[in-house]
Symmetry: D2
């Protein structure tokens, strides 16, 4: 393999730049030429492809977002899109591809490999909802962003409003809510993986008040219920008049944490190693604190599960 | 004057602790005894009063919130409440009072002075909506909190959503929106002091797109319209499907900035100076970069105005 | 077991409070009484012991330092000290102890267990230099503090000074230097585990300059050489006139990151589980992303090793 | 005037980008063409000049450093350098110049104006040591960086070392030390403007210890004495064994604060206004909370003075 390319796809995540940088520098170090593809699979199909050198990825490691831009492009699920993409890659003499993104991006990587074009996936998404890795790139940064908001809200505990709700990202996965809630001492954590009963939440808040707590914070994953709707129900069932914070895309931004940059660097380098061995159809990840690769089809079949023990611990520690 | 007291009232603001610390330490330095009153005017009426020493305010300077707690207590507007408050103060031999808070708190301070109890107001509120001072304690911190969110949102500019709305605090005053919007390069800033026309906003976004901008950020003061409602109107009038961030009480928290701590320290010390001269009915502030005092009744009459030149500048610089 | 105690010992680390909170709340949840010991083993010997309740550890999770204070107390290595300590514990009816700290603290925990008093160690130190755990509490926070400094220095790349040295903590262990250097894209990383040759460093800087780099950053672990001395040698061998930053104890402070708080919470809870099973002489930790316990004597025998692959990767990625 | 240019010079400061962006966007808004000059006066002499458009300064507002690069170039003090510079400007049809920097840069601006080329200075330096403005661009950011370090050090107050020294920037001016020391509650502040007596410092530390303080922090401006030398003297005179932090260039970096960005934006816009009126030989600034301009020769004659009242207040509040 002489020439590889890298793209970022789907929702952006802090650390995507660090991963792309690692692909470029490791690739060049190993004697490869490395190309960047702008705007994900859309750019791939459109031939938005350009050569990268060592300097192209300088001053990038600490930046949020992705210098390769990203896009959602469902049309890549079609045979036509995939063939067009491979055609573009061949036009540039590119023999292997690294795709940084989430679930949807992995499907694209899988499809390209099945059509004979070796492609490796790197898990880049703040949601931590991908199998085959204990952590996705961007999760740690998003977590600390939420935690910072949570800490700030706690500071105002002394004003008259006593209950606060933070709506965080997570359509199908509750990791951001769970980890930030545990780290921030939230009184209740609402995640897609566990049903919640409003009466129990209210009882919990009542108990806290009874033992002298001056305030309560509830973290709600957006996939379960919106923060505003949760507040409405809480007012109805429990006479709590909560203030709502909706962080939204703030969670996708920011300079990546040390953990995310190191993870991204290691995964990017490993992806290059795999392509040099001509191995596609794999997703790299960190499992049991080791950099690994897994069959991307298997990864797509499995479902990321939330840590039940941590969920219970969060309940115990915020009594 | 031998003995003074300090309380915080209304919505809390970062730097209230720094101001209270300054009152305590400056007071003791000058040979006074200083008492703290918990829970604002409510605590005053209830006699929630305790002596403070140098150590009571150690390790506080950098903390958000207020160690004296705060409360809203509209009942203090009554003659009964005020007389009860003065009775409590006299019971403890206290001869002067410092009130840290916003507009509502100033009314309390004015009333006490009119009834013969010398009281000085310190402007502590994130909204920067008090006259007699160019800046209120907490404004600079809140501003930087909003700006941090705005910067993070800008990082994700490359994903497919192009328009973002941040709803910030400000019921009647647009300073948080204006300053954060100018500092963050927002494409539009919606404040209570200026009517907005949705068609103009849409035109502005269109122009930005036309000249190559990849994204737009709009800062909306909550007093004008909610972020969600603004998004609805934007979708209706302009086919922009914006993502909304509602920061809420995150803006009240956090460790105070250097500016807020220095301002708080200087204002707290000046308030003590005034009480030692037996001067009540005043509000301290910073005007033209100098620590000043103004008649609190006059301050309550005037309305804080937004800087028109800065508002226009924000429009010019985000073309 | 009815009654346990917790102390922090040695150099403090962000997250110690989170760990102590977890011990207290998990203990009370399980029906135990939990005592806090101030000033580590010194306070243990002096009987500086007091009961803690749920509220004692409120508002602590996000705080740096340790509310139980810490102390270095080499005298605890003596039989006399240990017997006195056990006597004090028995006086309070305490049957099990949790010690949060580093290597030295583990020796104390081991000694107490050998004398029949069940004691469990929790790894709390920023240096990440303890065996039996992949990460110590405080490491992630320290890392991000160093990284923040490194990023800021990179910002000034454009001024005329081209070479910067950051001296970071790490007497015998290079993990802080290695991880921050990799995450921050440092051009050279000097750690105790690998000899460095100044000529190679100079050659590396020269190469970077030649390919267009505008600046270089070198991270130096204090255990190898001081930042100033390194700068002197660099000037002598390479005509580079570097500016030096010495972060010092800044690295020990700050609000713990999400990772450190979650780790601390999980380890604290596990330590209580072990004591409830009457198991002492163990050190808890995280290995392969799982919470584990190891024989503390074994842990003390093993040496934490630095990740050679990461070290090499840092070299590759900063070309 | 149809065409203007902007350069940054001297040590870089956070907010320089924001100022340059304002010059560019305001200029274009007013119908001018705006050119950027790389590497300050050095680049001016070398003709390192290129046209800027609205997009050239996109995504810059929040970045530290300066995208125009900077350089120290003492040779610009010569007639030859200045004439060469003007020749280059004329070659590009440029009729007015904005110089962002400190004292040295102002001398260049003054010289150009005296030779008939209208030049306006904008105060960009973290030291806050320029007359004609109450605040320089970058000062507020540097201050908060120092304060963050100071807060982190305070967190570790409980470990056995009790005294900490932070060496901060400030060759001839103590503003960074004074403001950060006041904001951070430092027990002693050493600035160039006031002689210090080690015996007094020691006495102050002794008193603090006596009243129960667990630690002391001393902020030292580098222009007076190095942190290490101060520590040596403190050990000799007072038996205090202090730990030293040297922040160095960390203070120059980081994303500018809201205050610095707003100030930079306003000053940049005003500089363009002045050039459009064909007025050179001026330095813009903020005085008494208003944007002003002063004769640059007068500004260079005056000396920035430190606020004596604030210095005394810092002493009072850290008892």
């Amino acid at each position: 393999m002489k020439r590889i390319a890298v793209l970022t796809s789907g929702g952006d995540a802090p650390g995507m730049n660090a991963a792309a940088r690692a692909v470029v520098r490791k690739g060049i170090y190993e004697g490869l030429e490395v190309y960047g593809i702008d705007y994900g699979f859309l750019g791939l199909v459109n031939g938005d492809i350009h050569k990268l050198d060592l300097g192209s990825v300088g001053d990038l490691l600490h930046r949020g977002g992705t210098f390769l831009y990203s896009a959602r492009y469902p049309e890549f699920a079609t045979e036509e899109g995939q063939l067009k993409g491979i055609e573009q890659l061949k036009k540039f003499g590119i023999e292997g591809l690294v795709v940084i993104g989430g679930d949807g991006s992995y499907h694209g990587a899988e499809a390209l490999t099945k059509r004979g074009f070796p492609t490796v996936g790197i898990p880049g998404t703040i949601d931590n909802d991908i199998s085959g890795t204990d952590f996705t790139i961007g999760f740690d940064t998003a977590l600390n962003t939420v935690l910072d908001a949570l800490d700030k809200i706690r500071d105002t505990a002394t004003s008259h409003e006593r209950t606060f709700i933070i709506e965080v990202m997570g359509r199908d996965a509750g990791d951001i809510a769970l980890w930030s809630g545990l780290a921030g001492g939230a009184e209740a954590i609402i995640v897609p993986e566990h049903n919640f009963v409003m009466e129990d939440v209210v009882e919990r808040l009542n108990k806290g008040l009874a033992r002298g707590k001056k305030h309560s914070i509830i973290v709600v994953a957006e996939g379960v219920i919106s923060g505003n709707e949760f507040a409405n129900q809480l007012a109805e069932f429990g006479d709590y008049h909560a203030r709502v914070t909706v962080l939204g895309h703030v969670q996708r931004g920011g300079s990546p944490t040390a953990f995310d940059r190191v993870l991204a660097s290691r995964l990017g380098a490993r992806a290059v190693d795999l392509l040099m061995e001509n191995r596609g159809g794999l997703a790299v990840g960190i499992q049991n604190n080791k950099i690994v690769e897994n069959d991307i089809t298997e990864v797509l079949k499995q479902k990321h599960v939330i840590d039940k023990e941590m969920f219970d611990l969060a309940t115990i520690l915020s009594i």
